[in-house]
């Protein structure tokens, strides 16, 4: 997973190349519910996502750890952190979630990246007019 090409030119200089090394992936997601009044709390949101994981990937899926790093109840947007190995399972569960408390809903995944920094600097968000 990791290859290093280190050159000891000076005592200070050091270069390391890490490949596929990010332990986590980060997701910027937004929950859309057909009833605008529905505003799950952050705990409800996390439970809801775990239920989705359990439905699609069973107890092994429900056991995948992920974190809700940030959640805005007004816009129903959240930033999730997931171990890279669990990304596909979490993402596919989010995709196949379709109802929240008997209301139709959908998770819109806006961005996914191995770098949390990338979530705040996406040039596709540039709006000029």
């Amino acid at each position: 997973m990791r290859n290093t090409d280190e050159k000891e030119e000076t005592s200070v200089y050091r270069r390391v190349v890490l490949k596929n090394s990010s332990p986590y992936h980060y997701m910027r997601v937004c929950l859309v519910v057909d009833d605008q009044r529905i505003r799950p709390s952050v705990v409800e949101l996390k439970n809801f996502i775990i239920t989705g994981l359990r439905t699609l990937h069973g107890q092994a899926g429900a056991a995948i750890n992920f974190d809700v790093l940030k959640y805005e109840e007004d816009s129903l947007t959240a930033i999730l952190r997931i171990y890279s190995r669990g990304l596909v399972k979490l993402w596919s569960s989010l995709t196949l979630i379709s109802s929240y408390e008997n209301h139709n809903c959908a998770f819109r995944v806006n961005q996914v990246s191995p770098y949390l920094l990338a979530l705040t600097g996406n040039s596709r968000d540039l709006q000029l007019d």
């Binding site: 056991a63 669990g86 979530l119 705040t120």
Partner: protein, 356 residues
């Protein structure tokens, strides 16, 4: 144990690379300025100043003097080869141009690099219509569906009136007729050098948007002991600061994010970001200003600066082809210390070469 036998396919994630470099400004061989200059199309730069509650005036003035850029709508691409434009803009300084609202994994994308190289990243149909030499994209999968045409406008064979030049212009004019919105700027001439183009098409001038945010009581890892194996936790911490993620999560169930140890608390910190179409030269100036600040300031012992490249640019560093599989990240973070040493982290996504 159930978790040990997960199917291989479902645990894999797209490739990504992170280069961690440590060097010093005192080291004559340090390549920082080249590395900064090689990332041509920058979308956002954000700076974190610890123990600082308001931006020093010199820094403010640097931030406010970032070059304005222009948005030109429906510009026919052959206009970038216009003789007058070449004479007044491309051969006189640096022109940065990047097609706007085009996606590198879906649409045709065009970029004019400051060294006078024009890049057309085209789908197969457009490429065939254009009828000009190009190479298949490195990131084609199974079938050759994307091609990259790269021409050096300063070379003799592309001199206006020459056969190569005429072929490309006629291809762009009569056959392909490629039109798109462009982000455009000229260094050092500014709008004046681009006037001929701006006056003929619907265009608007834009200032990079600056935003500042004062943070207080921020948990912060002790950065002196920074080691590359921790690079990801450092970048995560910076990302969390940028995204306004709070550290004192009230509930373990929701989030287990913690500040990397050993940690300390910053009574105040300032986060400044500039967003738009930014030149490496401006970022270079910002870095030197930050170095001055770091030398003068008694309080802060470090400063960090993060630069995000355009996701849909056809190149990342230098002439390295860039593409998007799912993310298209190309960004770097510079952590400068009081003693002149610095840590540089350069990151790319799946479709990119290793950063310089």
């Amino acid at each position: 144990d159930a978790t040990q036998h997960r199917s291989e396919e479902l645990t894999q994630t797209p490739r990504h690379l992170l280069v961690c470099e440590r060097s010093s400004f005192q080291d004559e061989k340090n390549r920082l300025s080249t590395q900064v200059e090689m990332l041509h199309f920058n979308y956002k730069v954000s700076v974190l100043l610890p123990e600082c509650s308001s931006a020093p005036s010199q820094l403010d003035s640097v931030l406010n003097s970032f070059t304005s850029f222009y948005l030109i709508k429906n510009l026919p691409v052959h206009e970038l080869l216009d003789q007058h434009f070449l004479q007044t803009a491309v051969f006189q300084g640096c022109v940065y141009a990047l097609s706007y609202r085009t996606r590198i994994d879906e649409d045709n994308c065009v970029a004019l690099m400051p060294n006078g190289r024009l890049l057309l990243s085209l789908d197969k149909d457009s490429f065939e219509l254009l009828g000009f030499e190009g190479k298949p994209s490195r990131f084609n999968h199974r079938v050759k569906s994307r091609f990259v045409v790269s021409v050096d406008l300063t070379s003799s064979c592309m001199a206006p009136g020459g056969s190569g030049y005429l072929r490309l212009v006629s291809g762009l004019k009569s056959r392909l007729n490629l039109q798109m919105d462009f982000l455009l700027l000229h260094h050092p001439g500014g709008g004046a050098s681009l006037q001929s183009l701006l006056s003929r098409y619907a265009s608007s001038e834009h200032r990079p948007t600056i935003s500042q945010c004062r943070l207080s009581d921020l948990s912060c890892p002790v950065l002196e002991s920074c080691d590359p194996s921790d690079a990801h936790s450092l970048l995560e911490w910076l990302g969390a600061v940028d995204a306004d993620i709070s550290w004192d999560s009230s509930c373990d169930f929701v989030s287990t994010l913690v500040c990397p140890e050993p940690k300390m608390t910053l009574s105040s910190a300032l986060r400044v970001s500039v967003c738009g179409f930014l030149t490496p030269q401006d970022i270079q100036r910002l870095i030197s200003e930050l170095r001055c600040y770091l030398e003068q300031s008694r309080l802060g012992s470090w400063v960090s600066l993060t630069v995000h490249g355009f996701v849909d640019s056809p190149v990342s560093w230098g002439a390295n082809e860039h593409g998007v599989l799912k993310g298209g990240e190309n960004l770097y973070t510079l952590l400068m210390h009081h003693d002149g040493t610095y840590h540089l982290h350069l990151a790319t996504g799946a479709y990119d070469s290793c950063p310089p």
